[in-house]
């Protein structure tokens, strides 16, 4: 299974220079725009047919907003989203509605995304009715049965309501609803983060099985690197609204090139005490800076253990290719990979960067709350 984009075939989804900016408004009588939260700030990516693209990043990095902007659940500020060659970002409402048949979403909160007053049958047939598919009531009944069967729910659940199910089963309903229209692209936003560990694995296995059977293309958005690694062919790492690294999953985990990816991976605990004691641990200083007021130059320079005196502070790094399918946006990626540069400790970084570490500067309070409201997974157990 190679994840290197093959140049011959047009990818199913291509995102070009996508930006989503949310205005920060202030004032009682007149809404004056006083700034912008750059939730997504110029992202390019392409997803091949039948592959899984995993998008990781911390809360507030814009990964969910990116997923929603692709489906146009939030309006992109700039850029193009080419789905099978059509620009979704500039479609008129009616063609967009038709287009959504081909691209569906699975949401994070399985209870919040299902209408508590609709039973399972009604939930699953609604998309079919909305798109004028499914035919008569007999066909719909048959369709619901096959959908329930394909996500592993008992046939008796069709008359039941969302509150009667456990978290994992609810997520299965959400998945069944998403595949009801036989879409080509499925965007799953934190599909398992609200579930218990033993149930997570069931849902992940289900997603993989469906992909093989239905030939789906996935965009999986998650904060959990282990989950993303498990199901993705290509992984993109986001930091403060832009991609910092993109690589085939195995290559990325073997040798992360961007300092952020490296620290992110070193922060994930592995359920094995032997490995836990040996592995590299890079602690980052401080929190994610506010996207309303992002740092100059490389956005990661305020927390980067490899920050250099030159270039990092004032020159914005571009995403460049360092190997087959390996894109990284760091001025010093080669030097870091070859071990020429060494990381500093979190205390040193904090000391040299002074007050710029804090995520919530005096004027960035409102914006921070806004981004959390839009994007952050509230809690997961």
């Amino acid at each position: 299974m190679t994840a290197v984009p093959t140049s011959g075939e047009e990818p199913l989804l291509r995102v070009e220079g996508l930006k989503v900016h949310f205005p920060i408004k202030r004032g009682i009588v007149f809404d004056k725009t006083v700034g912008q939260v750059r939730a997504v700030d110029g992202v390019d990516l392409a997803i091949e047919r039948g592959k899984t693209y995993g998008l990781v990043g911390e809360s507030g990095c814009g990964k969910s907003t990116l997923g929603r902007a692709i489906l146009r659940l939030v309006e992109p500020t700039e850029g193009r989203v080419l789905f099978e060659g059509t620009d979704v970002a500039s479609l008129a409402p009616e063609p967009l509605r038709t287009m959504r048949q081909r691209m569906q979403m699975v949401f994070q909160d399985p209870l919040g995304s299902l209408d508590p007053r609709q039973n399972v049958e009604s939930l699953l047939t609604e998309p079919l009715r909305a798109h004028g598919l499914g035919g008569g009531s007999k066909d719909l009944t048959a369709k619901v049965s096959s959908l329930l069967d394909s996500v592993g729910l008992p046939a008796a659940s069709r008359r039941r309501y969302p509150h009667e199910f456990s978290g994992g089963q609810r997520q299965r309903i959400g998945i069944a609803r998403a595949i009801a229209l036989e879409p080509a692209l499925l965007i799953a936003d934190e599909p398992v983060s609200a579930l218990d560990v033993s149930v997570q694995a069931q849902v992940l296995n289900l997603l993989e099985e469906l992909q093989q059977r239905l030939g789906l293309t996935f965009l999986v958005i998650a904060h959990d690197l282990a989950v993303v690694r498990h199901i993705s062919d290509v992984v993109g790492v986001m930091y403060l609204g832009s991609l910092v690294e993109q690589a085939p999953a195995d290559a990325l985990y073997e040798q992360p090139l961007h300092p952020y990816t490296r620290s992110l991976m070193s922060a994930v605990p592995v359920p094995d005490p032997v490995i836990e004691e040996r592995r590299e641990r890079i602690l980052l200083a401080g929190d994610l800076p506010s996207p309303a007021n992002p740092p100059s130059g490389c956005r990661f320079h305020t927390r980067c253990p490899w920050r250099q005196e030159t270039r990092c502070d004032d020159e914005v790094p571009v995403l460049r290719e360092l190997g087959p399918g390996r894109l990284v946006s760091c001025h010093w990626a080669e030097e870091i990979r070859d071990g020429v540069l060494f990381p500093k400790s979190a205390e040193e970084v904090a000391a040299t960067q002074g007050v710029t570490i804090d995520a919530t500067g005096v004027r960035a309070i409102e914006s921070d709350a806004l981004v959390q409201g839009v994007d952050s997974p509230l809690e997961w157990r």
Binding site: G167, A226, H230, L288
Partner: protein
């Protein structure tokens, strides 16, 4: 199961040092008029020695948080029956007066909750909330208390602590709120710290910072730490001994190395088999546990995990075997509640029965 054996197991974990906290046969029952009562915690026993980190692991609903609340005496009086014994330094906490508990809580016993935003008072500044502990338990003068609070915030890694003292919880980021909570819990250098899912609401990079902080704390000051979590990765990195809970009972106890290398309870094995790992390749199959925690049966009827267990046999049910399944001695430093545990060939330690056919 004789008590002598289990206390020998506990004694082995902390040679020489008497435990700070001993929990013996703790049970919590929630009762409600007109409804059958729910037994959330059912006969839980463990002990923590100074400088030791104990992990209580389990999925949501297994009773791990209720255990911690019962230890701290934070459960409501109405509709809750707590039995058993919780001894802090040999002193019984269950049934102790509110006044004496108040003296202990915050001073000798600290607690860090999961959700930092809802456990901080949103209407009061961070400074007031941190200094409150210092006035109450250390009887400090205002000026000293403020200086000490700034020092505490600095110690837990909050930049610009003096300014933060004047801010409200909503002005801090999630990681910083959790640090502020930890600072409050540490204000009187407690001998016991209970951390209930302290990193669950945080990002991984922040989680790493907080875990490092807790690790330093335990090693530096000899605080006994009870870590309550569902994340096996966190347990692997932090805890000395691990108690796995299921449906209100401890089902397996082991040293962390033993537990992760050779899980004996099929539930523990199943949990390890269902976690995607960062160091495993793409497409490494996950072996999930069937069903969900809702499928548990009451312990009186047999092993609560039996309906989901691939190794379950008829005698896992009380009806067939005639007795409930006890928590038994299972090798040095280990205890196990299972009649058909996972077996390992004596030589090959790498082999695992997790994915074995039924």
């Amino acid at each position: 199961m004789s008590r002598a054996v289990s206390s020998a197991v506990r004694g082995a974990a902390a040679p020489g040092q008497p435990p700070v906290l001993e929990v013996d046969d703790l049970a919590v029952t929630f009762t409600r008029r007109g409804e059958a009562s729910t037994r959330a915690v059912d006969g839980v026993s463990f002990a923590v020695a100074p400088g030791e980190t104990i992990g209580l692991v389990g999925e949501s609903g297994c009773g791990k948080s209720v255990t911690s609340l019962a230890i701290m005496g934070l459960l409501p009086k109405r509709g809750v029956e707590v039995s058993g014994s919780v001894r802090f330094d040999g002193e019984e906490l269950l049934g102790a007066s509110d006044k004496s508990l108040r003296k202990l809580r915050g001073a000798d016993m600290g607690m860090v909750f999961q959700d930092p935003l809802s456990s901080l008072n949103p209407t009061v500044t961070i400074g007031t909330q941190v200094t409150e502990v210092l006035y109450e338990h250390r009887h400090m003068a205002k000026k000293d208390a403020v200086a000490e609070a700034a020092d505490l915030l600095d110690r837990v890694g909050i930049p610009d602590p003096v300014r933060r003292l004047g801010e409200y919880p909503h002005q801090l980021s999630g990681g910083m709120r959790q640090r502020a909570l930890i600072a409050m819990a540490l204000a009187c250098s407690p001998r016991l710290l209970i951390a209930d899912e302290p990193t669950t609401a945080l990002d991984v990079t922040i989680q790493a910072q907080i875990l490092e902080l807790l690790r330093e704390l335990v090693q530096g000051s000899g605080t006994a730490l009870i870590m309550i979590t569902h994340d096996l990765g966190v347990v692997a990195g932090l805890c000395d001994r691990v108690h796995v809970m299921y449906a209100g009972k401890i089902i397996e106890t082991a040293d962390r190395h033993d537990l992760f290398a050779r899980p004996r309870q099929p539930y523990t094995g199943g949990l390890l088999g269902s976690v995607p790992r960062l160091d495993a390749g793409r497409g490494t199959p996950l072996t999930p546990i069937r069903g969900s925690a809702r499928d548990a049966i009451p312990w009186a009827e047999g092993c609560a995990f039996a309906p989901r267990c691939d190794h379950a046999q008829d005698d896992c049910l009380t009806e067939v075997s005639g007795s409930t399944i006890p928590l038994e001695y299972d090798g040095p430093g280990r205890e196990l509640r299972c009649r058909h545990p996972l077996q390992y060939p004596p030589a090959a330690t790498g082999a695992t029965a997790v994915g074995a056919p039924r």
